[in-house]
Assembly symmetry: D3
Homo-oligomer: 255 residues x 6
Amino acid sequence: MVERCRNTHPMIRSEGRRLDELRQVKITPRYLSQAEGAVLISLGRTWVICTATVEERVPAFLQDSGQGWVTAEYDMLPRATHSRHPRSANLGKPSSRSQEIQRLIGRSLRAVVDLDALGERTIVLDCDVIQADGGTRTAAITGAFVALCEALAGLQRQEIIATLPVLDQVAAVSVGLANDQILVDLDYQEDSRAEVDANFVVTGRGQLVEVQATGERGPFRPALLLEMLERAQPALQRLRQAQEKALRPWMSLPW
Amino acid sequence: MVERCRNTHPMIRSEGRRLDELRQVKITPRYLSQAEGAVLISLGRTWVICTATVEERVPAFLQDSGQGWVTAEYDMLPRATHSRHPRSANLGKPSSRSQEIQRLIGRSLRAVVDLDALGERTIVLDCDVIQADGGTRTAAITGAFVALCEALAGLQRQEIIATLPVLDQVAAVSVGLANDQILVDLDYQEDSRAEVDANFVVTGRGQLVEVQATGERGPFRPALLLEMLERAQPALQRLRQAQEKALRPWMSLPW
Amino acid sequence: MVERCRNTHPMIRSEGRRLDELRQVKITPRYLSQAEGAVLISLGRTWVICTATVEERVPAFLQDSGQGWVTAEYDMLPRATHSRHPRSANLGKPSSRSQEIQRLIGRSLRAVVDLDALGERTIVLDCDVIQADGGTRTAAITGAFVALCEALAGLQRQEIIATLPVLDQVAAVSVGLANDQILVDLDYQEDSRAEVDANFVVTGRGQLVEVQATGERGPFRPALLLEMLERAQPALQRLRQAQEKALRPWMSLPW
Amino acid sequence: MVERCRNTHPMIRSEGRRLDELRQVKITPRYLSQAEGAVLISLGRTWVICTATVEERVPAFLQDSGQGWVTAEYDMLPRATHSRHPRSANLGKPSSRSQEIQRLIGRSLRAVVDLDALGERTIVLDCDVIQADGGTRTAAITGAFVALCEALAGLQRQEIIATLPVLDQVAAVSVGLANDQILVDLDYQEDSRAEVDANFVVTGRGQLVEVQATGERGPFRPALLLEMLERAQPALQRLRQAQEKALRPWMSLPW
Amino acid sequence: MVERCRNTHPMIRSEGRRLDELRQVKITPRYLSQAEGAVLISLGRTWVICTATVEERVPAFLQDSGQGWVTAEYDMLPRATHSRHPRSANLGKPSSRSQEIQRLIGRSLRAVVDLDALGERTIVLDCDVIQADGGTRTAAITGAFVALCEALAGLQRQEIIATLPVLDQVAAVSVGLANDQILVDLDYQEDSRAEVDANFVVTGRGQLVEVQATGERGPFRPALLLEMLERAQPALQRLRQAQEKALRPWMSLPW
Amino acid sequence: MVERCRNTHPMIRSEGRRLDELRQVKITPRYLSQAEGAVLISLGRTWVICTATVEERVPAFLQDSGQGWVTAEYDMLPRATHSRHPRSANLGKPSSRSQEIQRLIGRSLRAVVDLDALGERTIVLDCDVIQADGGTRTAAITGAFVALCEALAGLQRQEIIATLPVLDQVAAVSVGLANDQILVDLDYQEDSRAEVDANFVVTGRGQLVEVQATGERGPFRPALLLEMLERAQPALQRLRQAQEKALRPWMSLPW
């Protein structure tokens, strides 16, 4: 059990962050001028461009259902990381890690969208990591929510949809256990040393949309799950504020 | 929130299963004669062949580390499912779903293997679904553990390794919320109607190796996580017994 | 010429098989519950799952022809063989060997199906080798015939087709020349030492559907072709009996 | 059985060919100036460029065996055929038909090469169909043999090998049954109407290297195999003469 | 600047060619019998087969525009070059060089075709290099123009189009700077030593369709561009004469 | 000829740009913190991230030559454009357009680098278009030059190389002919209406590195080439100033 490898020296985080303190977050709305939604989210040195595209079609399994869809794609620029990794297009396919992440982003956002009210159209969320320092998938979810709202507000402005089909806010944060301490919003160095690694996708009302927790260096006790979530609350609150700050000038928030 | 769509009619499971009852499980050890480990696990109509291959090499990032590796691949036969799906080889790559699952299987088994004691070799676990009726990933983890033990016991018999480098047993089960009821070990029909869908990978000592929980039709309250895990305990116990029954004739169990 | 390398020591086959003796054959009908046809055929340690899927469409070149189609796909699980081979999905395509074999299976079964009576639908035969010890392609043909009959009998039961559009039985066996002796139904070891290697696909009436013969270690005299076929007759008879035994409980045999 | 559909009108072949008459054959040796061997073979309107490349390496399974290898690749230009087919490079892989054919070409030529005398090097035979009118695989084998001899003679001239490691001549021809008549060297129209289609790869001494026979429209009686081969003898003789005529000016023929 | 590395010894070209002299050019019209247009162009040892296929459809972006399209594909046989290169189909895609070249060929020919007069159909030009000794892309353009005219004349003969929709002739030649001398129509050896390498695609009236010029070993002075073009005029004239000689027996030339 | 379609109304450019006026250019040096060189270049609404990576290896053809290499990769985010295009990784390969552009970027920068002084290492330039409004390839070249200098200056600071192996500055600009007027630095709208489209890659000393000119809607007179280059001089000067402004704070400029 990971709890045994207790380390009496408390973990010191870079730039003096407290254990439950989010890195500096900034969400730039309307980042690009040609997309229906486009956001640059930076979380410390993790930067992700999230765009939202409205497509007037749905996947085959939803045709004639009256229901819409939200899907996501995720990738990293080759030099987003400390050392260069090969370009996905040259590998011939998205990496399995990218595919796993983009499925997570899609599920996370669908959970807060009223797909019936959206109508038979698809919102495609492209999350491209410009710079990676841990927490890219949670930053992508948090940023993609803002891009999604931008795109939906646009549909509303054009009177294509009557109301904003957003049921609640959604944001995500990573939490880890390292040296028997719970850390919130891990950077790359922290993440690579963590014994337990979890990602929580949480709504504005504090409900869970998705939890993924892994014992990277051995199993962990079940109660840790809710302890980690508890410690993540201030960071989640901070992320929701950043989302609202980015959106409020452009639209009225329905949640 | 999913809790709202309460349904006063209790869910009736096929074949009269209780809510927390595992489907009939059978693990056939030494299923094939040419692999170091080979198991057929059936869980109701979900059948998975799990083989273990010993390779005397490790991935590049472990070379000269003295440490071994455990990895997994997962696929489904085209007609494992109710309607035929295209063969992965014709698609040109494993599906993103397969890749996500094989990463999960690999992490789950690495968590109970002492990679240092394994030495610089790789155990490859091939999990091929012959018939699918829900819960293929959890069946694959549970069966792959037995195939892994077979292969490691073989290394021990040949005196390539001194002791069995298995730290604990590991098994996995799915749990869902449907009509406000917690169901354990969902079949395909149940899974497609569940509002919340979770997979728990749990050791013999009751520690968690991996948790994945998704609100398929909206968010869910955090406490549900531990309630689900609690309801899964009898099924997990039953799976561990089936693993032990399959292994005991061939080896002494170290946990 | 291979005839020259005569070896005075007669070849001894494993498990005391006679030169023209088939390995133990077993065909399990209705092996899986979700496919229209599904068979497990075992021929010694060669095991193949053959499923038949009915698709209500035909390839483009048959559209509006009133004629049906039968096609096959073939693959091996990575650890069907003595040492593990890479998964086809990871190679990005079926191996050229697999493609050659699946074309052979398709031709062999089309030869005994009345494609006009089948009507504009396709039967897809998936042949997946679970364990390989020589003769996988001939086992696949022999097993796929049974799966095909299961699926066609189902169409008849549902009154989608009036009569079973099967013109004759078809089965296949390998024959080789090793040490100047003709061997029937070669296992992997025998196959790798054979000087001439042939596969015969033969109907119930003893007509040929397909012959492939290769001088693996030099050319051979033409008359050997018919001598080999002659020696294969008891094995072919045995395979046809196994097919009939598997099918008779479920349907009346039209040939 | 195909024999039943007897047609009293004898088949008339284009350009008044007799039933067993080869189309006009021409083999241009030293067709290209940069390859070790290069031949243009035309058989009526079927044209194939065959080049031979000497590579001073062998596949992994032959390393340090002292033995050489002969392998082949086969493709068609997009507009070799009556209507254009997609370029293989755009499909992302050779077609399964091409792969089947190139395996046949490789086996056919290896059967007449003394791989030990060749030494640890590989001869790669590239067979590219410029124009296709039936019989491309047999033309490729016949032409590739000449290109192979050119390359081997070059090695001998450079004193890299002492003797020409060619055990015998090899040529191939297609034979078909149409309207109950045996036709030799089928063109595309004839091939598409044939009930039985066979390819014979035959050495100078009349031994078989490879036989492939298929009942395209139903099974056929075994004796037909040798009858077809018998009818092919004049055509095979004619092909061997064309090979010798192409080679004799440049080298002494060892067979 | 490349001009500095002046070499007082004049460059001697193989076979005594003058600096501005084209290699021997030969264009064989109606080279293949099954394509709407088919040409073998040889320029010294550079040989390219160019075929033209008429397809009664246009790319999506031209549908219902009334306008036609001309597109090209380019590839090399594996042994067109001095040492063998891998077959594009095995690489899984056309090389980036091939893609760049085929885009150039397409643009070059579209520039002299009246796409409105062509109507909603596509001419596909397949340029396959049989033997390569420098200048394959310019030979492909020059040859493809003839194949294109053959195909268009065929459409006119069938009265599918009223007039030949060709606005002007087009031909292409390479020009290089080596040892401070301008060379026209470089062979492979010359090309690999050139400091500046340019390709000019020029109409019958002397207008430019495309210019590509690269300082392979450093930058060059702008005026060189027009000096190179000036030196290329006799070669371009010679190419146009060869095109006309190939076409005149079959059609009246509209330019 | 394009000159004929003269239009008496002068073209009015968006935002009142003069015909030869560059869009607003901004080069942000040291844009990312983990790459050896990283620049964001914006040219109006065309934004490109250019990173430079130092790899201590060279391509096979340069091994043991003592010489270094500079290469480039280019791609666009899916929503860089007005409508979304599929992600290259999903297409399985870079588009042919991307491949053509990345070859151009590589050639352009190699022309101003002293590859001998660089030593046996490779600089990889990744140019990823964040937002596209015409001129992405010329912006990529101009930005990549700055990223390259950053990386080389870093090698110099670490005393891995003695001097900055940069022979001259290099920048690129597009020029077009529309309505008989020469326009410099075309945006997407202008580019799609241009009759002639050219890209000039030019050194600080005014020498050409690469010219590509295409008659998009018909051929053009040769003299236009130098007229276009002449009109591009102020824009090229402006680009070189922006490069110098970005670099001067961090390094001494060697040209």
